[in-house]
């Protein structure tokens, strides 16, 4: 039975995930054709409701919806009634009246998309909520990794950085583990919570993590500017020295054939050095491209309860 909403990875089972990944493949094939559109969502309205600034995810969703022939509207939150103090609940009532079929939500508060989903018959897609979940990112990450490792079972991914505040770490670790991939966390002791999961090994030393865990891919998280200001670690320079992919570490990873992934946007000189972008096993551009296919698959698979 098709779902109404796409809110997190936790509530998906392995079969649903695989179906979403399989479904994304023909969409990706479409991108090399001269006409990149299919009429699947013709006549449907997709509304973008981004309470947090976003360029990449917002554009990715817009392109995905347009390639499915949907009508796409972006609700301009910063200049809207929201800044005049309107509650989310009242905003959704307004959007309901506009009869959107799909609402793509990004919000700074964990759980807000789920609350919206309960209020509306439109399909709600979580485009990132607080530190809770970023399920379409997880899907595109899994898709990207599967392209490199068609048999994912037993592969190893080391997620590195600010695990504590990262919705990507939560969703991507969850989807990978559901697909049989082994996941470990690496980062400063103040940013890798001990309460995260008893089944996910926790490392705070880069060399030890590489040696003991032996990752097939290193997944770098963005170190957010606001975390650098808050005293979670002494400086971005120290972070780079301890956890960043330096030239030397890149040579070591290249020698082992390790892939590098990153959800973007990147901070050069913090979590990675410039040379990473030219590394032939750096998958960042593929992640962006696959993001469109993965989001098309999600939109295509949902069933709005709108008449």
């Amino acid at each position: 039975m098709a779902r109404k909403d796409f809110l997190d990875i936790v509530s998906l089972d392995r079969e649903e995930i695989i179906q979403l990944l399989d479904q994304a493949e023909p969409f990706k094939d479409l991108f090399t054709r001269s006409v990149k559109k299919v009429p699947a969502l013709k006549g449907k309205t997709v509304l973008m409701l981004f309470y947090e600034p976003s360029t990449r995810t917002l554009s990715s969703f817009e392109v995905a919806a347009k390639r499915l022939s949907a009508d796409v509207t972006t609700f301009d939150v910063p200049s809207s009634s929201v800044t005049k103090g309107e509650s989310v609940r009242d905003t959704i009532d307004t959007l309901q009246a506009m009869r959107a079929d799909y609402i793509v939500v990004r919000h700074g508060l964990s759980g807000q998309p789920a609350a919206i989903a309960r209020q509306t018959g439109a399909s709600v897609i979580n485009a990132g909520d607080g530190a809770h979940a970023h399920p379409t990112q997880a899907l595109l990450d899994a898709f990207t990794l599967r392209e490199k490792f068609p048999e994912m079972e037993g592969k190893r991914v080391l997620i590195t950085g600010d695990i504590l505040h990262s919705r990507v770490a939560r969703s991507t670790s969850t989807i990978l583990r559901k697909l049989g991939v082994k996941v470990a966390f690496l980062g400063p002791g103040s940013l890798v919570p001990k309460t995260a999961s008893p089944e996910i090994p926790r490392f705070t030393n880069y060399d030890q993590a590489i040696r003991e865990f032996g990752p097939d891919a290193v997944y770098l998280l963005r170190i957010q500017k606001e975390r650098m200001a808050a005293p979670f670690f002494p400086s971005d320079r120290e972070y780079h020295n301890l956890y960043g992919i330096t030239d030397e570490r890149l040579r070591q990873l290249a020698g082992q054939g390790t892939y590098i992934m990153h959800p973007g946007p990147i901070n050069r000189g913090v979590e990675l050095c410039d040379a990473v972008l030219d590394y032939d096993r750096c998958l960042i551009s593929q992640q962006v491209e696959n993001g469109i296919a993965a989001r098309m698959s999600v939109l295509y698979g949902l069933k709005p309860q709108t008449s």
């Binding site: 936790v10 609940r89 759980g111 789920a114 609350a115 979940a133 939560r170 999961s197």
Partner: protein
């Protein structure tokens, strides 16, 4: 009024319920005893199989008047108390404006005159609960305040709290502390642990309470002030109160809320704001430790921290929704359902911790079902049941985890003085 409660089990703070009839005449208890003769002209109510006990007293309630009447007025709150078998309450001062002066105290106590039960109020330690200057303690004392608290927040400045304790104690006031180290507490939405990680919300560690409590207890000991610690949610916090009280002779006590005995952060599930309060729900181990503390006397009183909020307010995203649950309608029945009915503790404990001790703390006469006493009693049916629908609840807000749930036990009657306040 001439009322004869026939065949009930009379409970007190020191003894298990014992079979006795209770004869009430003109607001006083005329006689209590097994197989009394039915007095002439009295209305006879058969209460066999039911518990007859003193009315409960809740020393920690948030009525939202003035400033938040859309959530709860003083009158609404007092009716919720009666509905739950509670015949006296102490309001917290975090209204708007705060109850931090004789003027606001008088305004509140004036509104309380409409109520059918005594409604007392505490007063702020600092002006506007802002933690900068001492509130007008002399004026509030003269207006009838005994308990000083900035409940909702800790007093951030230890020096100011120390001076307030030195100053206020001379007026015979006692202090009550909401213990929480503000920097550690963060956004104050839920306990720090596996659940906060799963939900992606910064948690409030138990440490925030423990550290703040250790400061306030040491201050009370040093100044000789009497200090009551409100809504303890951690085992280490509870142990500290016991240690200062028993090992150092400090005049300190603690309270526990029903929800901290019954629920854990796991109950939040998928962002259910009916389980969002401050201090937050913690772990199953904390439940066990706090229950043990209630049984062994670590806690002086039970209090609900009754905190009504509207459905709309509670429908916000978890981090944005206000803290607190409505508790007066549900407290006694839920304590019966979860603990007494399961044999965890007896009626004597409830009478002691939720009726006698809170009244002693507030320097009030202790309610007793005994000959010659002013009538302040309730009848509780252990074989009945209660479904907490919105219609049943007298609180203006129905933000409770028990909403639409059916629990064992029912408050059947509340009699105060010469008036039957409730009869189902």
């Amino acid at each position: 009024m001439n009322l004869f409660l026939k065949g009930g089990e009379v409970a007190s703070e020191n003894t298990a319920p014992a079979r006795a009839d209770v004869w009430i005449e003109n607001g006083r208890i005329k006689a209590v005893g097994a197989d009394l003769a039915e007095p002439e002209g009295a209305r006879v109510v058969d209460v066999s199989g039911k518990i007859v006990m003193p009315g409960m007293f809740d020393a920690h309630v948030h009525f939202r008047e003035p400033g938040g009447e859309h959530k709860e007025t003083i009158l609404d709150g007092s009716e919720a108390a009666i509905n739950g078998g509670i015949t006296g309450v102490v309001m917290m001062p975090n209204t708007s404006p705060s109850i931090d002066s004789a003027t606001v105290v008088k305004r509140v106590l004036d509104a309380a005159k409409e109520c059918r039960i005594p409604v007392l109020t505490s007063g702020c330690i600092t002006v506007g609960r802002k933690g900068h200057e001492m509130a007008g303690i002399d004026g509030m004392k003269k207006a009838g305040v005994l308990m000083l608290t900035d409940d909702g927040d800790a007093v951030p400045d230890a020096a100011l709290l120390k001076r307030a304790m030195e100053y206020g104690s001379e007026f015979g006031m006692f202090f009550a502390s909401h213990c929480e180290e503000p920097q550690l507490a963060g956004p104050r939405a839920l306990n720090e642990g596996a659940v906060s990680y799963r939900l992606g919300i910064e948690g409030t560690p138990a440490l925030a309470e423990e550290i703040s409590m250790s400061r306030d207890l040491a201050l009370a000991h040093a100044t000789g002030a009497t200090l009551h610690i409100q809504h303890v949610s951690t085992a280490i916090g509870m142990e500290q109160i016991k240690w200062w009280r028993d090992e150092r002779g400090a005049k300190v006590s603690g309270e526990v809320s029903p929800h901290h005995l019954m629920f854990t952060d796991e109950d939040i599930g998928d962002y259910d704001t009916h389980y969002k309060m401050n201090p937050p729900l913690r772990t199953a181990e904390a439940n066990v430790a706090l229950l043990e503390g209630l049984k062994n006397g670590a806690f002086r009183i039970i209090a609900t921290d009754h905190a009504p909020h509207t459905e709309f307010e509670k429908s916000r995203a978890f981090e944005d929704a206000p803290n607190g649950i409505s508790g007066l309608d549900t407290a006694l029945v839920s304590l019966f359902d979860r603990f007494i009915d399961k044999g965890e503790f007896g009626w004597d404990l409830i009478v002691k911790r939720y009726s006698a001790e809170p009244r002693r703390m507030m320097e009030l006469e202790v309610a007793e079902v005994a000959e010659g006493k002013i009538v302040d009693l309730i009848v509780f049916d252990p074989n009945g049941e209660t479904t907490f629908t919105k219609e049943f609840m007298k609180s203006k807000s129905s933000n409770t985890p028990f909403l639409n749930k059916t629990l064992k036990g029912s408050v059947e009657m509340v009699v105060l003085g010469d008036e039957v306040l409730l009869e189902r």
